[in-house]
Symmetry: C2
Subunit: 368 residues, 2 copies
């Protein structure tokens, strides 16, 4: 499809940096780009500007390079099936694990209860399904620890310790005027992030927490607690990476259960997923003629996002697609057809692998 | 000492009821007196108006009378040695246990940390000493459960569940603007009070919580949570009894560590305790002559409180002393000398018994 028109723009990150400029200037988040050459084997989402910012990632890169112990920590609120948003974080965790990190994966069932009212009996079933996804995607249990907050006394006990260091004014400034359960789950989340540094897990170590940019308040809150409780635990303030949100299929950033056409999960029928992709909003023009003449707009296109975030392995393919789209060399129909096939194949294979991991998932969560 | 002057006043409760009238009218606390004849074998402090009020105690009395299961629950914040204030509650717990209750005694080490900054390692030592006191005073481990909050997952898990039912406005109204640790320990305390009703302990049952009147906000908070979580647990709202505070030796209500002459603990040298008693404030007159003529004032006298609360077994002795004092038949010196001997004998015997319980106390707290 690609032709010999010249590359117009670097698709990796220019617009993102622009959108998020305030984060760098006002909140002390650092841009990732200048660090990229320091990372031995940078992750796809890092190379492509999907992960665009960080705090103190140098510390983690140094550990990576020198073979010192480090950890990656993240998790999921067990409220539903893995979808394309979840996938960004999970792949980053697995990436860091493959680079040598011990990986901690938290099933935030206390948060699911406090925030969404999901009883523990229900979130347990959801969690088993989530863990099977995680294992099928390549999470290595031999260098990883998966647990539920409700069963992990260490995070509850850290929350209890931390609570003495948190004034009402502080927590209100971060989370607003909420019920006590929300505040408590924020404290427990701080416990999740710092647990990898407890003696039980080998003591203080650089830890990276991959999050969406909307999660930064948790990171700042936890870094502050790491400082306050330094004397007792010698915590190293956790590092973080920030990724862009992936667009929903309607072009917004709202993957909503109320609008099931706006996203798909890894559990869905591949044929239905194909249909959703064919129905998706794009950055294309009203007519094929205009598209050929004026080119499309990949910046606003969820189909392009899917290639960029997940479904083109090779950066060159993304750049080529970007330019083909911009130059009108490709129409949305053929672009969607190609993606639909790639995604359906991926999901089919994932579901096959996942079935093999269900028992392991149940076993993993049995006691934790 | 007593002579044939007539009884002027009932020393049991008249003034108390007057002081606390607002509690009855404004907060829905019920006076205990009308219930007294219903209680098969009323406790000394009940008969004497030291315990002056209650909520829903009928429910507990009915269980007592019909031989149905019921519980008594209270505890201590492990910040120091048992003193005379602690003794009121402990004796009431043991009383209810002897009347057939299963007794729950909580070492509130999370509260000691959150409120007083006492680390768990330190409060553990204090708790062992407290538990030895409790056992020496007659707490029966065969029908009792002693635990530390920090080791009892059930109370932490109840706190986590309850937190979703508590708005910031509610908790601020009760506890004021405090740090998160204080709020969390309030939730944990609600867990303590309702834990006896979990399936692990035989399910819902009437539970009485003996507290000082200053603790009523905790009771109201917990009763509200019992209602909110009725569907899940079938909680019976906890009953409570309220006791007067015992006066400090300086006549105030402040037993303060900064003023060690204002109180004594059960660990102190009996000779030192005697000295403190001789130095105590009394309700006596400036001269013996005036005292004989005008009589003393037992209402403001910490020496009288000690007899009333603890050191006269027989009600008649208290009434007699009250009248002898009022009528000027007894002077403070001889009254103190008698008390000093009774207290010193009691403390000596208690310390002897306590030494025999130290190992049991260590063992009791080993895992909980």
């Amino acid at each position: 499809m690609s032709e010999n028109k010249r590359i117009i723009l670097d698709p990796f990150g220019a617009t993102v940096i622009e959108d998020y400029e305030r984060l760098f200037t006002e909140f002390g988040i650092q841009p990732l780009k200048p660090l990229l050459s320091e990372i031995p084997n940078p992750f796809m989402a890092m190379r492509r500007g999907v992960i665009f910012g960080h705090r103190d990632l140098e510390r983690v890169i140094n550990a990576m390079k020198s073979g010192k112990e480090f950890a990656v920590m993240s998790g999921i609120k067990p409220t539903g099936e893995f979808h394309l948003g979840t996938l960004v974080t999970v792949r980053e965790i697995i990436y860091f694990q493959q680079q040598g990190a011990v990986a901690f994966y938290c099933i935030a069932d206390i948060e699911a209860y406090e925030d969404n009212g999901i009883p523990f009996e229900e979130s347990e079933k959801i969690a088993i399904n989530n863990v099977a996804d995680l294992l099928a995607l390549g999470f290595d249990l031999k260098r990883g620890y998966i647990y539920r907050q409700s069963k992990e006394e260490r995070v509850k006990d850290l929350a209890i310790l931390f609570s003495r260091g948190v004034t009402l004014a502080t927590i209100k400034a971060i989370y607003g005027e909420r019920h006590m359960g929300l505040y408590l789950s924020a404290l427990i989340q701080a416990g999740d992030i710092l647990m990898p540094q407890l003696e039980d897990f080998g003591g203080p170590k650089p830890t990276v927490v991959p999050v969406g940019i909307d999660q930064d308040p948790h990171i700042r809150f936890t870094r502050d607690l790491a400082d306050r409780f330094y004397n007792k635990f010698k915590f190293i303030p956790p590092s973080s990476t920030y990724h862009r949100l992936i667009k929903a299929l309607d072009g917004s950033y709202k993957m909503s259960k109320r609008d099931p056409m706006s996203y798909f999960t890894l559990d869905e029928d591949p044929e239905l997923i194909k249909k959703k992709i064919f129905n998706a909003f794009t950055g294309g023009r009203p007519t094929a003629e205009e598209q050929r003449k004026l080119g499309g707009n990949p910046e606003i296109c969820p189909i392009f996002d899917l290639y960029l975030f997940h479904f083109f392995e090779d950066d060159k393919d993304v750049i080529e697609l970007y330019n083909d789209c911009r130059c009108g060399n490709i129409l949305c129909g053929e672009d969607k057809a190609r993606l639909a096939k790639i995604v359906a194949d991926f999901v089919k294979e994932h579901q096959r692998r996942k079935r093999q991991y269900m028992d392991k998932a149940i076993e993993t969560l049995k006691t934790k």
